[in-house]
Symmetry: C2
Subunit: 369 residues, 2 copies
């Protein structure tokens, strides 16, 4: 265990494509979306804490979710749950966490791991992260590139270059560029080329390297975060936070750090194939929970004590109650049965669930959001 390696878990985002399971008050990462007995943030903790050590895990989340995070993660020090007064995207969240960590450990290496992703092969994940930490010793920014399962248009891509032959990171390559979510035809070219990998949004770097780039690329954001970090453990904490935070720019860490670093030839990519999924919508959930190909597909129940009656049907049912759910003649259905909302859609329309949330918002049904 590298005692300078710290994990940052950004726990934000509303997860509207997983509505009405995921709500403003209880977003996706707080739910056991996959029905495996642990919420997504708990599963993230379970993966990451054994790698970095429990006392080197940090969570950045909205202040309205602080108590729920603390309750779900009983072994985290409350001082390592960083509460944001409002969402300011990942550059502010990760930047602030990196500063607070670097204050305590100037030689820190930080790794950022989303609170709401799924990884099925944790042993392989660990081996990949070990390589990433070794590669981060170079001072470069290290990211993980996932082998594309299909020409997805929902993910950004990383163009990979030559093997670097680094000690402790034998599969590390130079990252030539980050590409934003592509059109379908471009995505096919990427996948066919064999040179592109999905950007899973994981970054591993020396805190000092990351903060140097942040200072250079966005001095205003950097200095704002520095003021907050300086006052963090002082009586001025609340005053400085409420004075500075609202004025911070909302920017993604990808734009502020990763892309400039790639352009300067300072990003390394470690190929990682460990069953990563961003659990972005109910189609992801169904894919992660359906039986393996070749086995009969049916209806899978997640949560609750739901009895299922299925006739020529397949899909997933999320239910909080003990009602019987009967599905007749529908394939790849998605049903979410909560106390106040019943959602019915199909796996192929899982992306459109956010439209229903928009409609609910337009109608002023705020209690459902």
């Amino acid at each position: 265990m590298n005692t300078h390696f710290h994990a940052i878990i950004p726990a934000g985002g509303s997860g509207t494509r997983l509505w009405p399971l995921s709500r403003r008050a209880t977003p996706k990462f707080l739910h056991d979306v996959l029905g495996l007995g642990r919420s997504l943030i708990q599963a993230t903790w379970d993966r990451v804490a054994p790698i970095v050590g429990e006392d080197r895990v940090w969570v950045v989340t909205g202040e309205n979710h602080f108590d729920q995070v603390a309750e779900q993660l009983p072994h985290i020090a409350r001082g390592q749950i960083i509460a944001e007064p409002s969402p300011k995207d990942s550059a502010a969240a990760i930047g602030l966490a990196a500063m607070l960590i670097a204050r305590e450990d100037p030689d820190a290496i930080v790794g950022s791991f989303s609170a709401d992703h799924s990884i099925t092969n944790v042993d392989e994940f660990r081996l990949v992260i070990d390589q990433a930490v070794a590669a981060a010793e170079t001072g470069d920014i290290v990211t993980i590139g996932i082998m594309p399962r299909n020409p997805a248009t929902a993910y950004g891509y990383i163009e990979t270059g030559d093997l670097l032959g680094l000690d402790g990171a034998p599969t590390a390559r130079r990252a030539l560029a980050f590409a934003e979510k592509p059109e379908a035809s471009t995505a096919r070219q990427y996948v066919n080329s064999g040179r592109y990998r999905w950007n899973a949004g994981m970054f591993i770097a020396k805190a000092s390297s990351l903060l140097d780039i942040l200072a250079e690329e966005d001095p205003a954001l950097y200095s704002g975060l520095a003021r907050i970090a300086e006052a963090w453990d002082t009586p001025d904490h609340d005053e400085v936070l409420s004075a500075v935070w609202p004025g911070l720019e909302k920017r993604a860490i990808d734009y502020v750090v990763a892309e400039p670093a790639a352009a300067a030839g300072r990003v390394i990519v470690i190929p990682g194939d460990f069953g990563w999924d961003d659990v972005g919508d109910f189609d992801s959930v169904a894919r992660l929970r359906q039986p393996v190909p070749g086995e009969p597909r049916g209806v899978i129940s997640i949560g609750g004590n739901t009895d299922l009656l299925e006739v020529d049907a397949s899909g997933v049912v999320f239910s909080e109650g003990p009602r019987t759910v009967a599905i007749v003649g529908l394939e790849d259905l998605v049903v979410v049965d909560t106390d106040d909302v019943l959602l019915i859609t199909s796996r192929s329309h899982a992306q459109d669930v956010k439209k229903a949330v928009s409609v609910a918002g337009e109608r002023g049904l705020d209690e459902l959001l």
Copy 2:
């Protein structure tokens, strides 16, 4: 108003294709399936009572439904609700009612009208029934033939012959034969020939004619019913009923009366096109409630105070509660949201709902049936 014309409303059948709305304890005819403010049996009363007069309407139903029928039809004399100890199909039900009516009115003409059908053009229905009553004066059995909307395989057909030129029944024709529910190819031939009409299961006849045929075709059933009718208003009622009823044969009136009469050239058919539907499944319900062709189709809510959020969706939602129902990217969906069962199917699979009921039965989930 013909003061010898009496209506019999057989109110039986479990309506499993409308489960979980329709249950053993509260079958289809007791529900406002179409969301029009009246249950199907109430709507039948509303159609029929003005034609025959309120004091000449009789209902035959299971004894476990007696109280609910009496409550839903406050203007019917309780003595004209005939309670069956167990289901014995339509020959016993209509035969017994005809006997009880004939005892009071030997010149009675009886008309049998199912408790769970829908008719949209009641004025036209009344004109057709007026013709049927006139035609029944001949002593023949009169039935109503519905113009087929499509080559349905779910209905029996009536083969029609020549116009008869009867007084008061100008469109009456000879019925050549009854045809059972056909195969699809046969149904297409029927419809293309122009000579076949749907058998809507309505019969109008002199009670004496109907009972004569019953006596001839099924003497055992006739004599059983006669013993029960004789004891009906006596202290022996319960004893005779419980001794005789269980032994009665289960037979449909079509086989015992209509088909033999047709073979003997004694059935008349009145063509009737008044928006008849047997409300057999949720596809029927959706067709009866969807907007007219050309108008935008959406999701229709029946019952409850359900809010709907629809995105690229159409279909019907039955809901008992005030939950919001969101449907995303599914066409012709059927959702039935009851306290203990949630059913989801499509209009095209509406016939298969009975399979889910079978599965529930096989699993011993009797409380859901």
